[in-house]
Amino acid sequence: MYYFARLARSIEERLVLLFRQSKVVGGLYRSLGQEGESVATAYALEKTDAILPLIRNMGALTTMGVRPREIFLQYMARAESNSRGRDLNIHIVNLPREGAQAPVIVGPISMLGDSIPVAAGIAMGARMRSIRKPLVAMAWIGDGATSTGAFHEGMNFAAVQKAPLVVIAEDNKYAYSTPIAKQMAIARIDERAAAYGIPHEMVDGNDMLAVYDVAKRMVDRARAGEGASLVGVDTMRMQGHAQHDDARYVPKAMLDEWSRKDPITRFRDWLVERAVGTPQDLDDIDDMCKTYAAEEAGLAEESPMPDPATVSRGVYAGDDFAQPAIEFVKSPFSTP
């Protein structure tokens, strides 16, 4: 888990450099401070389960083995990216292919909340097709996005259908500039689930072990056919909504307090205490992630921009214009 979280952060740090060189097309959204929960929740899944991440779930992608190059290709809108430069950042899709043992990945569309009904359908569809039986779907949703009608309809339908779906609701204190108090009148985001009659728990999102523990329990019950559930994670968005946003609306004291709770540092300290790894081992991993991210970014830069001649291809079926499949990599560390 340490590696996946580190890698996520290294990828984003590399993206910041590319952004400064204006090689990133459009906006760049950081998950700084939230890498822990993204990784620890996805870590509770099988490598063949389904994920529906949002823009801040880079850690879910590294954990499921998405090759970093894929992410750089997307952010730089290159021809070899999964969307062939047609859609933004981590808007990537990987559907079940004959034989392939890869995870199902359905990246977001920008309309917040829409991924929840789709996640319910993926969970139900997999159950009907008995694909990789039993498949569990995991979807992440921001505090702000839980206010959308699509979230409500999708959660309620998943609950009634007892769909094998685990939803991770991220209270990172803000939706763009809007503080959570203007978003909902409940104290704990997981109470959103009370309206659907499904199990829900709140967890310290910056404590990776605690997050993994809750997520694993919810994933297990989903796989056992006990239906949908929601995990509320208490965390903090440590930067602006995107690079253009200096987030001056966030109280400094709040950031200071949360910076002391950085999930990666906390997990690192725990590993050292428990002597699971020495500081040296962990520094090595850090360096490895930095180098790996740099290499992958370099490879991605070699990919050309899309050919304008292809712009009209693939709107409908019947034209053989296929999108490149996502490449997955094994982690250098054995994963249970």
Binding site: N82, S83, R86, D87, H91, I92, V93, L95, P96, V104, V106, G107, I109, S110, M111, D114, I116, P117, V118, A119, A120, G121, I122, A123, M124, G125, A126, M128, R129, I131, G149, A150, E153, G154, N156, F157, V160, Q161, G314, V315, Y316, A317, G318, F321, A322, Q323
Partner: protein, 324 residues
């Protein structure tokens, strides 16, 4: 061969496709135990079980969203919108998620979203609309609307087998009012192909859905007046059959665009543009739209009658054109 209603033809298509392909399933409000508000899905749950005929909560966005998700996993969902007016409640999911999925990531969305459209039954402002033009400006969607029982069955089978999201509009006025011969054996009516319902040389009436019958009545009256009208039934609204449209215009040089949706912003505009751009040289008279008045759909019978396009409207428009 058997003579069946438009509604029964739709039911048979669902039944046949579910029997033919285990990936096909139906979801929507009251489609199961009750068999649908109009009984289109009657008997399906008894035959195929609750697992494949799913009664949903009142959640159009969840219905379509779940259909998209299930289709990603290899299923072939057919979602019912109880009255097509409520498709407005899943406009986002259809136009932003379903329509763009293939273009963005090469992820096919083989779903069908079907429901009863149209007026003439005192349904009022919220149970009578014709929504085709809401979706016409969104590439990635397909749309069809049958005017006969034969097409109702053949188009629905084609829509279910199609690899793109298809909106299937069934005109509720036709459900039990029209009957025609439908083969028992398997057949499809290909998407994107119009059909000439009546040959004529003097004026073309390009239309679809319930208005095809209005057009045919008008054509019959016109014949008595010595005017030979050609009636073209579009059947598919996206993609449009440009060849068929241009062919009839080149033949008659006079065209009436007839639709039940309100006039301004209706599909008649797109048809007029295609003709004005590509058949300008053939035209001997102005393109003429006959459509509903630019108001919400009124409820009281005398008001709705005044609102909807009538046979006389088509007849007088045709006479104006031939005199032009």
């Amino acid at each position: 061969m058997a003579v069946i209603t438009y509604l029964e033809a739709i039911r048979q298509a669902l039944f046949d496709e579910m029997a033919r392909d285990e990936r096909v399933f139906v979801l929507g409000e009251d489609v199961g135990v009750y068999g649908g508000a109009f009984k289109v899905t009657e008997g399906l749950q008894a035959r195929f079980g609750e697992g494949r005929v799913i009664d949903t909560p009142i959640s159009e966005t969840a219905i379509v969203g779940a259909a998209i998700g299930a289709s990603y996993m290899g299923m072939r969902p057919v979602a019912e919108v109880q009255f097509i007016d409520f498709i407005a409640c899943c406009f986002d999911m259809l136009t932003n998620f379903a329509a763009t999925s293939r273009y963005r990531n090469g992820a096919a969305v083989p779903i069908v979203v079907r429901g009863p459209c149209g007026g003439g039954v005192s349904g009022g402002p919220f149970h009578s609309r014709n929504p085709e033009s809401f979706f016409l400006n969104t590439p990635g969607l397909k749309m069809v609307e049958p005017s006969t029982a034969y097409d109702a069955k053949g188009l629905l089978k084609a829509a279910i087998r199609d690899d793109d999201p298809v909106l299937y509009f069934e005109h509720k006025y036709l459900y039990r009012r029209i009957k025609d011969d439908v083969p028992d054996e398997d057949y499809v009516v290909p998407l994107g192909k119009a059909i000439v319902r009546r040959e004529g040389t003097d004026v073309s009436i390009v239309t679809f859905g319930a208005m095809v019958h209005t057009a045919l009545d008008a054509a019959a009256q016109l014949a008595e007046a010595g005017v030979q009208a050609e009636v073209v039934d579009l059947r598919s609204l996206a993609p449009l059959d440009r060849d068929a449209i241009l062919e009839t215009v080149s033949k008659t040089s006079r065209v009436i665009l007839l639709h039940e949706a309100t006039r301004t912003g209706g599909i008649g505009g797109e048809l007029a543009a295609i003709i004005a751009e590509e058949a300008f040289g053939y035209l001997d008279a102005p393109v003429t739209r006959v459509a509903s008045l630019d108001t919400p759909v009124p409820y009281a019978p005398p008001l709705e009658a005044a609102f909807l396009p009538k046979v006389e409207d088509v007849v007088s428009a045709a006479k104006r054109l031939v005199r032009y």
